[in-house]
């Protein structure tokens, strides 16, 4: 049963974030922007057009998806873990009429909201530097970021549920996040990979996100739009469902 009970949990996180908004924004945004500008200009200067556009334009969509992924992942791993495990915030909430599902939905939507903010920041850069082809189409990056944030927030909460400590998250970064950054098409088109590797990469959530975001920045309608969208939703729902069961087992047994 879905209702609005998750909202006080979302709001709690928002109020804390508001207090630390400036450093948090900087931390969230400086990193992807430096990647984009540094690699875009630095590496882009050495490259001819990639996919028919300057490298910086090509990199923009990848950076957006990667930034959204990072934002949702960090929020549901480190921040959510602090709330769940260190500060016992979740346990305090569970003593009220709210349920674990309310708590996890609040966290899911909060992480999604935060990742949406990362997307907006990258979009501002895309607009400011004129890295797009069609302004109207870049607005469709918002729903793409929403789905991407949802997807990685759901998966992150599942990892959070089974983590004994902060160090455990390194496995997820090493085994899932880093491969996605390197194989998912952030820095180059997947067609550059050997076929067998490209086939594997096609299954990665980040690949789906980039397959949606990149055409939109470059002024094209994404091919297999529905497939990529559904894939992101499916990964998100699978992650969130696992998170519900595993967190239940962790906190309420």
């Amino acid at each position: 049963m879905i209702n609005l009970n998750w909202y006080p949990v979302w709001r709690r996180n928002f109020l804390v974030w508001k207090k630390l908004a400036m450093p948090s924004l900087l931390g969230n945004l400086a990193d992807p922007m430096l990647y984009m500008l540094g690699l875009g200009y630095g590496l882009g200067g050495l490259l001819q057009a990639v996919d028919g556009v300057p490298y910086l334009n090509f990199l923009a969509a990848g950076t957006l998806a990667y930034s959204v992924m990072n934002s949702a992942t960090f929020e549901t791993l480190y921040s959510a873990f602090s709330r769940m495990h260190v500060q016992k915030t979740w346990e305090a909430i569970l003593n009220t009429p709210l349920t674990l599902q309310d708590v996890l939905l609040g966290e899911l939507f909060w992480a999604t909201s935060k990742s949406l903010l990362s997307a907006v920041a990258i979009m501002l850069v895309i607009w400011a530097l004129g890295l797009y082809d069609n302004f109207g189409m870049t607005l469709a990056l918002l729903p793409v970021a929403l789905l991407t944030g949802f997807c990685f927030a759901g998966m992150g909460l599942a990892i959070n549920a089974v983590s004994p400590n902060y160090d455990f998250f390194l496995y997820y970064f090493t085994l899932a996040i880093t491969p996605m950054i390197l194989l998912g098409g952030v820095f180059y088109p997947p067609s550059a990979l050997p076929a067998w590797l490209a086939d594997i990469a096609a299954w990665l959530p980040l690949t789906h996100a980039i397959e949606l975001a990149r055409p939109l920045v470059l002024g094209r309608i994404p091919t297999d739009l529905v497939l990529h969208g559904l894939a992101l939703i499916a990964y998100g729902i699978a992650g969130f469902s696992a998170a519900l069961v595993l967190t239940q087992r962790r906190l309420l047994k």
């Binding site: 709001r11 804390v16 915030t89 003593n95 009429p97």
Partner: protein
């Protein structure tokens, strides 16, 4: 008035270990109830079952008229919880903690704001509304946790070791608050390892061991029923030789480490005899709840 909490035949086991084993408990409205027991006796599990956080393997829980855990969300609207481990929001001020917690109960901001002055006064934190949590002492944090548990004006309040780790001054302040709540007609269920705390606050005490209630009664009743009225604690050189003598003078003797505990109806004989034993030191005192507790649950460590 009906009982705010009724537990019947409750059992719960973890990996084959019976943590709660056929537990029955019924609270009287408007009273302070103590739940005592050594570590691992099932106190915390019992509280979690009562709150509907976990489901029992067998038995029933009725919390404020609602079956648990099925109607937990409804029942908890009128329940307050002071958890054992601090769970205040370290990023918030005192006021923000109360505001945020009230919202979990579906309360409106205005409603909570209106209640905050009372809560601050109650917990002796008036003037601290805008203090960050990390600036509060341990005692203040505990009092704020108590205030937080009252934000929804609960009928029944669960307190899991509310004064553990506090200095005597801070404990007395918490006790004052709890007495005030009892005076207002609230029902309290308190777990504690401090027997003096239970003796002072609780109208009814249930001693738990191995997952069931082994005795129940007022502190005075329990002392009267289960233990001799006087205790002489004896320690010092020559205790070993004197032990046989002691057992003839006392009703019951127990050794714990280097100390001999003599339980008796007639302490004068023992004390007279001890006057002739210059190597031995002693303390003569009335029996208390701790003596009852140790007699019923044994002196062995339960880790």
């Amino acid at each position: 008035m009906t009982s705010p909490l009724i537990l019947r035949g409750l059992t719960k086991s973890y990996a084959g270990l019976q943590v709660v084993d056929g537990l029955d408990l019924e609270l009287e409205p408007g009273r302070c109830h103590g739940l005592l027991g050594p570590n691992g006796a099932g106190k915390t599990t019992t509280l979690r079952l009562a709150l509907g956080l976990i489901g029992a393997d067998a038995g029933t829980v009725d919390l404020l008229g609602y079956p648990m855990p099925a109607e937990a969300a409804l029942a908890r609207r009128k329940v307050g919880v002071v958890p054992q481990i601090d769970s205040l929001d370290p990023d918030f001020t005192v006021r923000e903690n109360l505001l945020t917690y009230g919202r979990y109960f579906g309360m409106k901001g205005r409603e909570i704001e209106a209640r905050i002055p009372y809560l601050l006064e109650f917990s002796g934190l008036a003037g601290k509304a805008d203090a960050p949590i990390n600036n509060l002492s341990g005692g203040m944090k505990r009092r704020l946790t108590l205030a937080r548990a009252l934000v929804n004006d609960p009928d029944l309040i669960f307190l899991d070791e509310p004064t553990t780790g506090l200095d005597p001054q801070a404990r007395h302040l918490i006790w004052q608050g709890l007495r005030r709540l009892i005076g207002q007609g609230k029902t309290l269920l308190l777990t504690t390892h401090f027997m003096d705390e239970a003796e002072r606050l609780c109208d009814v005490i249930s001693v738990l061991d191995q997952g069931r209630v082994i005795v129940r009664g007022s502190p005075r009743e329990l002392i009267k029923q289960h233990i001799e009225p006087h205790v002489v604690e004896i320690y010092g050189d020559g205790l070993a030789e004197w032990k046989t003598c002691a057992s003839s003078l006392c009703k019951r003797c127990e050794t714990a480490g280097e100390t001999l505990f003599c339980y008796t109806d007639a302490p004068d004989k023992v004390v007279e005899e001890l006057a002739n034993q210059p190597g031995l030191r002693y303390l003569h005192r009335p029996a208390n709840l701790e003596d009852v507790f140790l007699k019923l649950t044994g002196r062995d460590l339960r880790d």
